[in-house]
């Protein structure tokens, strides 16, 4: 005979304002099988939990229903309280009367009636619950970090320095990401590469870090503590074990006019190349599409000159399988394509450039050797106009959100420009200056007050060439007047957007993303580096546009989450998994084919003599995620989900 306890929480006024809790408790007391029913102001508080524990002991309860907030909030709390009182935690269920009742209704009487019904249905379910035991799975103490920008490097170093193994996968030829492209960094104006390259080298030399560059994650399976990851090692046509990075090949390569991706098209590279001189690893690859040997069948200059015979034109992509216990996604962002702004003429007028191009121009290792020279004629621009919010905060043509970093980097650009072209005039068209951060507002004020950047509040509507200048038609909204500036160069602060393949990549890893393709954290405030998938964490600008300090902080945070996970020998998992009734299972294998987690195995049942009686489905408890696909599919009704059996669900529905 069931002996159920019902505990109704007021949640302060959250529930009690709309639901008559004492009345509900009285109604439930009458329900068959309920031996105790009470209400209390805060059930999750210590006295509240003690009420539950006391009732379990005094009334010898066989099941508990707590009517309160969503089970996502406090299911663990109440189940733990039950366990402390000697009741199997899986005999405790939550009836959600806050999110699904009091918060969404205003009529007190009807809401009370609804609450009573919700609780009743849970009482009916709990009567049919059975005692379950958590599942224990081992943890593979090796982390996978995807993305070798500053966030990924930081994560990998933090994990490795704590003594755990890391595999760092980068899809480009070198570590470094966007930070390697930057000239100087705000708000201190220290050289980006000077602070980044030591970290890159450290990551490459750390014995705990296995570095896979020019590699991409193809597939991910498994679950927290036990992921299996397949990585494609793209062929470089250069054997990096033999290559010494001497550079003989790229000095000889005859294909020299290929726009350099690293220099954003402002400079050229060869077909066999490293993206930049400080690349880690400093080993080249051949760009097949632009290589004369691959396109025309003859050349082979690099193979002839290579002193170690490292060039291999026959090289194929390779695949490696990795077992890892945790995954950190640090895949970064990209700069928005500005073709949508026909009125600004990017791509049509060579002297309209993006902020990232300006970074390359201002960088000592860049195509102009750090001189600010306009692309059309190589002259030093005397007037430069910077336009902020190109793509950002523009739902019509661009993106709804603020890219966060542009206000600061534009202020930095005006300073770098002024430091290099002393009499140069700079104008900044802005909508708002968003400089929240330590030393950030001071930095933008310095650009305005000391480096004489002229800030104009307004957007620009049109840029067109006239008499060798670019006429910028903007507005000064503070004066309420349109204005025109004849500029020598225009720099667009283009929006930071998600990687083009962010959505398909998120699907490979099995994590969520938002409407803009940025990857979703588990909770926007309280779980910023976790994802909804256990064991997968986020770091850096793949989650939202971020500057360097934020990316580094998030990288370290993700590392600490990984290390916390690795501090355990084994993980405890919810026992909500499928279970096969071996007597009725006919071995049709519909479930075997359908299971998205490959958790169903074929099991042989033999008699004592070892003779095969039949084959049945078997659910691997380590792999099963409790999704229920097999349950729905099973034709002989032989699979059920523990904790959510058909009997329980039917009872719950009929209880309404």
């Amino acid at each position: 005979m069931a002996r159920i306890g019902v505990f109704i929480c007021h949640c302060g006024e959250n529930i009690a304002a709309t639901v008559d809790c004492p009345k509900s408790a009285a109604a439930l007391a009458e329900h068959p099988g309920v031996v105790v029913s009470m209400d209390y102001k805060y059930m999750c508080s210590d006295p509240g939990q003690e009420m539950i524990r006391k009732a379990i002991r005094e009334h010898k309860l066989t099941g508990v229903v707590v009517a309160a907030c969503s089970p996502r909030m406090h299911e663990t709390t109440f189940r733990r309280a039950c366990a402390e009182a000697g009741l199997n935690p899986y005999l405790c269920e939550i009836a959600n009367v806050r999110e699904q009742c009091s918060w969404v209704h205003s009529d007190r009487e009807k809401a009370t009636q609804k609450a009573i019904e919700i609780i009743r249905s849970m009482v009916e379910k709990v009567k049919r619950n059975s005692e379950l035991q958590p599942i224990h799975v081992p943890v593979t103490r090796r982390a996978l970090v995807i993305g070798g920008g500053i966030a990924g490097i930081q994560t990998a170093l933090d994990i490795a320095n704590a003594g755990q193994e890391v595999v760092l996968v980068e899809r480009d030829l070198s570590l470094g990401g966007h930070m390697a492209q930057l000239s100087e960094t705000f708000p201190t104006l220290d050289c980006s590469q000077c602070i980044l390259t030591p970290r890159m080298v450290e990551a490459a030399q750390n014995p705990k870090i296995k570095l896979l560059t020019y590699a991409e994650v193809e597939s991910v399976s498994g679950f927290i503590g036990n992921f299996k990851v397949k990585v494609r090692l793209k062929s470089r046509y250069v054997d990096i074990k033999k290559c010494t990075g001497c550079g003989a090949c790229w000095t000889k390569c005859p294909a020299r006019k290929i726009p350099s991706e690293f220099d954003c098209g402002l400079g050229n590279r060869t077909a066999i190349y490293t993206p930049f001189p400080q690349a880690v690893p400093n080993k080249p690859a051949i760009d097949r599409n632009n290589c004369i040997y691959f396109q025309k069948g003859k050349c082979g200059a690099c193979a002839k000159i290579c002193p170690t015979q490292a060039i291999d034109y026959q090289m194929k992509d390779e695949f490696v399988e990795l077992d890892v216990g945790a995954i950190v996604v640090a895949t970064g962002f990209q700069v928005q394509d500005t073709d949508v702004y026909g009125e600004y003429g990017y791509g049509k007028y060579p002297d309209v450039i993006t902020g990232l191009q300006f970074e390359r121009m201002a960088s000592a290792s860049g195509p102009t050797g750090g001189k600010i020279l306009r692309p059309s004629d190589g002259k030093e621009p005397q007037t430069v106009v910077f336009i902020q919010c190109v793509g950002s905060r523009d739902p019509s043509k661009g993106l709804r959100y603020c890219s966060k970093i542009c206000c600061m980097y534009t202020a930095k650009h005006t300073m770098l420009y002024r430091h290099k072209v002393h009499h140069g005039e700079s104008y900044v068209f802005y909508m708002d200056i968003r400089a929240a951060g330590k030393g950030y507002d001071e930095f933008t004020r310095r650009a305005i007050e000391e480096d004489h950047a002229c800030y104009v509040r307004g957007r620009v509507s049109k840029i067109y060439p006239q008499d060798g200048k670019l006429i910028v038609r903007g507005v000064d909204t503070l004066l309420g007047k349109p204005m025109e500036i004849a500029a020598d160069m225009v720099v667009l602060a283009t929006a930071a957007v998600a990687q083009a393949d962010a959505k398909s990549f998120a699907q490979i890893v099995g994590i969520g993303y938002d409407e803009n393709g940025f990857l979703n954290e588990a909770h926007p405030k309280l779980r910023p580096v976790e994802t909804a998938t256990a064991g997968v964490f986020l770091a850096g600008a793949c989650q939202a546009p971020k500057d360097i300090p934020d990316s580094v902080a998030q990288g370290s945070a993700a590392a600490s989450k990984v290390l916390a996970l690795f501090s355990k020998d084994e993980l405890e998992r919810e026992p909500v998994i499928a279970k096969v009734n071996e007597i009725t299972c006919a071995g049709c294998w519909a479930c075997y084919l359908a299971c998205p987690f490959k958790a169903i195995e074929k099991k042989e049942i033999r008699d004592r003599a070892g003779k095969l009686i039949k084959r049945v489905a078997y659910v691997n408890p380590g792999l099963c995620q409790g999704c229920g696909t097999c349950v729905a599919l099973c034709r002989s009704n032989s699979i059920d989900l523990e904790g959510f059996t058909e009997k329980q669900i039917f009872a719950e529905v009929m209880g309404l």
Partner: protein
Amino acid sequence: MSEEKKETPSGNKEQLEQTTGNNYACCYQCGKCTAGCPAGSFMDNPPCRLMRLVQMGRIEEALKSESLWYCLGCQTCTARCPQNMEVCGTIDALRSMALEKGILSPNRARKLVEAFHHAFLNTVRKNGRLQELALVNSYKLRTGTFFQDIDAGIKMMLQGKINPLSMVLGGERVKGQGQIDKIFELAEKKGHQEATAKRRPGKIEIKPRAEVKIDPAKVIGYYPGCSLSGTAKEFDISTRKMCQLLGLKLEELEDWNCCGASSAHATNHKLSLLLPARNQVLADRQGLDYVLTPCASCLNRQVMARNALQGSPELRGEIKGVMGDEPTCHADFINLMQLLFGLDGEYIKSKVVKPFKDLKVACYYGCLLVRPGNVLGFDDPENPTKMEKLMEMLGAQPMDWALKVECCGAGLTMAKPEVIEELTHKIMRNAASSGAQAIVVVCPLCHSNMDMRQAAMRKRFGDLPAMPVYYVSELVAIACGADPVEVAVGKHFVPALELVSK
């Protein structure tokens, strides 16, 4: 909404929100509307200030703004608004409201422009069509600007572009005058309130319109509009000649009326839809698939009206009340470029018998041919290239230049000629510095501003070479074998015969 509520500032704001579909809270004052406004520097309250005044409920200040009477209606502000606000429509709505309530700017610009719109709509009300001489006379009587453009007027009279006799004998009139009366009556009914679909910030998708496929064997409707029957006679003559040479049969839309551009939409939104809606009914009745509408202004009004009719059963009902039958909206109003690109590319090339040599042209689209991009969907709204492709087919060399879609000043040509000169001068100088010898246009207003006012501009600014201004139809016809004199190229103000007679 009750009359009483309307009189409060918040009532006025609500009315503006209803007619434009805007939620004024969405304006974040970036100023892009003002930045791109061709007339922005002449305005007391440029577009972003007007938006702010409305946002703050200071409607009366907005109504008294001189800027309402400087707005050219080019829609650059709306086209580029990052928050998808109807800025141009707000100015139109403010202007209508100012007239309706009699809260008006006391300055001269307002008086001139208002006089122009009055004169314009009065001749349309009387005749169903615009008679340009009647308009000019009526305008001059109202404003006392008797000697403005007098030389140009005499020249046009001598060329037969305007017929002084029509003043005495009465010019062409619409037979369905009763229908025109009813349309004005409906549009001027007080207190009517149409709700426009709500606009919210979001991606503006520029979808290309249904592909135009022209079958040379089928009859194509022809809507010349008022200008082509008057000051833009060359456009009419050359369009007809061009079609004849291309083997296309044109059939004029029977009993067509003025589309109302640009005075109707500047002062009365309902009128700006009902006038073109009548043409739509006529075209549908006549069983036409396509109606060629050479004038960019007329085309804009017809396409906008067709779009509104398709989306609004009430509007269809209203025009049914006037005309007796509802428009099916089958007939599609198209411009010259759509007509030509609707033909097989090889077909046009096969008809070119006298390709141009060494003719460098700047293709000027003007404002209304491409806006609003998401309704007209005819070409890239910021950098259209169809006219250039056409010029290449004719053997001419289109130059790359920047101000293809800037507004020339359009309908303010009579009321504010000095503004027009500044705007048009900027455009023409940019065209000239690209190396172009001539400008190609598709709009009678662009043509008159660039051609008729060019001498004055040259005198005032002193840096403009003489540049003939051709209608695109003139060049197609000439390349297809027409004699330049025959397509009336000799009637331009800036001598244009020599360049195309080589």
